[in-house]
């Protein structure tokens, strides 16, 4: 019954009506840090805009849920979403004492594609693009959540730009192939990220070929992938190679063993566009290391080629990861460049727009509900309109504007 109510309300909200409805979700804990101060309850405490859905399963999200917030369980935040959420966003979520994401159309659309896709075909590729702060990463999170609930294996890169820049980062000559460069620390960090994200999913996976690290050390056929990860974490020297092995085995076994793999890379354009600022990576000869020379990038680029199946690639392109001179547009082909486009082509570009007025209203109602907006004027209809105008309904701008109210 409650579910039906939410859906009906969602449908009404689509027609942009601004009537207040009875709040359906009443399991909200009023315990945010701001609530601790002696702030009087708002006047419209029992009449609220519907901005929540009790449907916590992203698999069940449809267009009717667009603009509504759903709650991510604490366990998943600490496993699946560990290190995935922007620090500012995570801080906000912690302040609110709950981890809520808004269901938005781009991610619902991509989830729909993933639902209906043919897993015998080579991996399809989806690229989220949009203005800064429009919610590309949050759309990616929603898709990841959808896949995690379907027991997919996550191959997630929180920010690809990290692998092509860094002050005084350790850059070692590749142990696998001369001319390439390893980033031992980054590779180890990613391995642990991978392990945390895919707890309990790697048990039955074993290597299918022999890998020789040194004269004395090797991984025989049938070594569990867990052990490969452990080896990479113990021997940083080989961590990049372990990443390569892991990805290769996933590609090979995805079809045979029948598990599904989601490759989710944030700001994938860093793989193709050299970063030439001062903090670019330099090798021992103090020469710039280009992205394609980094073994991590090289290995991950293989995941983008349509040579394997039973998986999907969902990426975001981000203008902030490009050089200053290449930030004029936010469209995928411009950001990826010719080489990147050829790697991705054919891909499905998915635009992540700014909030619609319904979504912005829902977000503001959520902020008001969490006592994030305490200014009396900000809680009125006129105030909300003003906030929407000032922030241009850009999600990040909206947060910035509201954080001082």
């Amino acid at each position: 019954m409650r579910e039906r109510l939410v859906r009906v309300a969602g449908g009404m909200m689509k027609s942009l009506s601004r009537t207040a409805y009875l709040c359906v979700a009443n399991d909200v804990k009023q315990g945010s840090s701001r609530c601790l101060s002696s702030v009087a309850e708002p006047k419209q405490s029992n009449l609220r805009q519907v901005f929540r859905t009790s449907e916590d399963d992203p698999r069940a999200h449809t267009l009717d849920h667009v603009g509504l917030f759903y709650k991510i369980p604490e366990t998943e935040v600490n496993s699946m979403f560990k290190g995935c959420i922007h620090p500012w966003h995570l801080r906000l979520m912690n302040t609110f004492n709950e981890h809520c994401l808004m269901v938005r159309k781009p991610s619902v659309e991509v989830n729909g594609y993933l639902k209906n896709m043919n897993f015998n075909h080579p991996v399809p590729k989806f690229v989220y693009y949009g203005r800064r702060g429009a919610g590309k990463v949050c759309s990616l999170l929603h898709t990841m959540h959808f896949c995690a609930r379907n027991d997919w294996i996550m191959v997630h890169v929180p920010w690809a730009g990290q692998w092509v820049r860094g002050w005084n980062k350790e850059v070692a000559e590749s142990t696998h192939k001369p001319g390439r460069f390893d980033l031992p620390m980054d590779a180890a960090e990613w391995l642990s990220h991978f392990r945390i994200q895919n707890q309990n999913k790697l048990k039955d996976l074993k290597t299918t070929s022999e890998y020789i690290w040194t004269k004395r050390e090797k991984a025989d056929v049938g070594t569990p992938l867990d052990e490969i990860i452990n080896f990479g974490l113990n021997r940083f020297k080989f961590s990049s190679d372990c990443v390569g092995v892991l990805l290769k085995e996933l590609r090979l076994q995805a079809a045979e063993k029948g598990f599904k793999v989601l490759v989710a890379i944030n700001s994938v354009n860093s793989f193709f566009v050299p970063w030439s600022k001062e903090n670019t990576l330099k090798n021992s000869e103090k020469k710039q290391v280009l992205p394609h020379e980094v073994s991590l990038v090289h290995n991950f680029k293989k995941m983008l080629s349509p040579t394997w199946n039973n998986g999907a690639v969902v990426c975001t392109v981000n203008e902030g990861s490009n050089d200053q001179s290449l930030r004029e547009d936010y469209t995928p082909q411009y950001l990826l460049g010719q080489e990147g486009f050829e790697w991705f082509d054919p891909f499905v570009p998915i635009l992540v727009p700014e909030y619609s007025s319904t979504e912005a209203l829902s977000c503001l109602s959520y902020y008001i509900d969490r006592n994030w907006i305490q200014n009396e004027h900000g809680r009125t209809e006129e105030g909300m309109k003003e906030i929407m105008f000032v922030s241009n309904r850009n999600p990040f701008n909206l947060y910035k504007v509201c954080s001082s109210l």
Binding site: N116, N118, P122, N309, E342, P346, L351
Partner: protein, 364 residues
């Protein structure tokens, strides 16, 4: 008695006349003196009263001034609404406020105290007299001029009614200028410049020669209007320059039809625009479709496979001629040649989802 009385009478008369003259003389002195005298006569034997000047109103006599002649009302007040304007303003002349029958304001008002903050009207307005006006070039004037010139004109040639007709029959337009002025010399340097203008579409060119023509002429070609302009001032005479630009056109035209050996070495980066057929995209696409075909044959899934693929995918050209692939090709070429915008990206998205048979319930 009579004699005496006559004598007395004459004396009295005399006396009277003298007294009168004395009185007249006194009258002529001044009115104030007269008054004082009158006063003194009234209060004879007492002190004279001191009159304070300005205490009592003083009657003064004024000479009647001759009335100034009033200027006639401005001419525009008495103008008829259906008058012939060309008679009022026959030739170019400075703005005359009284002859212009419409209200007009001009000038700068610095603040609200100046002229009560209102821009000055036309009366005695210097700002209206400074700029040249076109009151002598109204349609009525032009019509009169044309009527006067008509008898010197010949009939317009038949078949050249529209601009398009003119361009079709006379595709090359040459422009030269003559300069007339009063100076010791009749020569003017600028008169030697000659230029010709033509539309590129009027030339008979194929794809290669058109591309080469555009590359050869450089910025003389305007892609927006499709016009080519050759201009020359290198020769001393106008006729020489005109001949030279004609030569240029001929030379460039025949040169662009030639195909040199080195032109075949054109690489992908030299291409004037994006061609899907020679780019990596086509190769990737064909191999992808072949892989998909293989997968479909191995494990056919109704509704989720690519139904449009032919049973034999060995022929690369046949694959590329498929409708879905052609649509995709157009979308990619648009994406590169037109640039990325919402429309081309949506076209590309639609083409890719159709090509790979991707479906979503939430897709538009």
């Amino acid at each position: 008695m009579a004699a005496l009385s006559r004598k007395r009478l004459t004396d009295i008369h005399k006396h009277l006349i003298n007294g009168r003259t004395a009185a007249f003389a006194r009258l002529f002195h001044s009115t104030r003196l007269n008054q004082q005298n009158e006063h003194s006569e009234q209060q004879e034997g007492e002190f004279r009263v001191f009159e304070i000047e300005g205490l009592k109103p003083v009657k003064t006599e004024r000479f009647a001034r001759r009335q100034k002649k009033k200027p006639p009302p401005p001419r525009f007040r008495s103008m008829a609404t259906d008058q012939d304007w060309t008679d009022v303003w026959p030739t170019a002349s400075t703005f005359k406020w009284s002859a212009v029958p419409f209200p007009v304001r001009q000038g700068f008002v610095e603040n609200s105290s100046e002229n009560e903050g209102v821009v000055p009207a036309k009366y005695a307005n210097l700002e209206l007299m400074k700029p040249p006006n076109f009151l002598h070039l109204t349609p009525a004037h032009v019509k009169k001029h044309c009527d006067a010139l008509k008898k010197f004109c010949t009939a317009w040639p038949e078949g050249l009614e529209t601009e398009e007709d003119c361009r079709h029959h006379f595709p090359v337009e040459s422009v030269t200028s003559d300069y007339v002025f009063a100076a010791p010399s009749l020569r003017d340097d600028r008169a030697r410049v000659a230029s010709i203008k033509l539309n590129l579409s009027d030339l008979e060119l194929d794809y290669h020669s058109r591309d080469k023509f555009i590359r050869l002429v450089g910025d003389r070609y305007n892609p927006d209007t499709d016009e080519v302009i050759f201009e020359s001032d290198r020769c001393p005479l106008k006729s020489q320059n005109l001949e030279y630009v004609n030569f240029l056109l001929t030379a460039v035209y025949f040169e662009s039809w030639k195909r040199e050996g080195w032109e075949d070495q054109k690489e992908l980066s030299d291409m004037e625009s994006y061609f899907w057929d020679i780019n990596a995209s086509r190769k990737n696409m064909v191999s992808l479709l072949r892989t998909i075909k293989e997968a479909d044959e191995k494990s056919p899934e109704a509704d989720k496979g690519l139904g449009y693929l032919p049973s034999d995918v060995a022929n690369e050209d046949a694959i590329c001629q498929l409708e879905e692939v052609q649509q995709y090709k157009v979308a990619v070429e648009e994406l590169f040649n037109e640039g990325e915008n919402i429309e081309t990206l949506n076209n590309y998205k639609a083409a890719v989802t159709k090509l790979l048979n991707l479906k979503s319930d939430a897709a538009v």
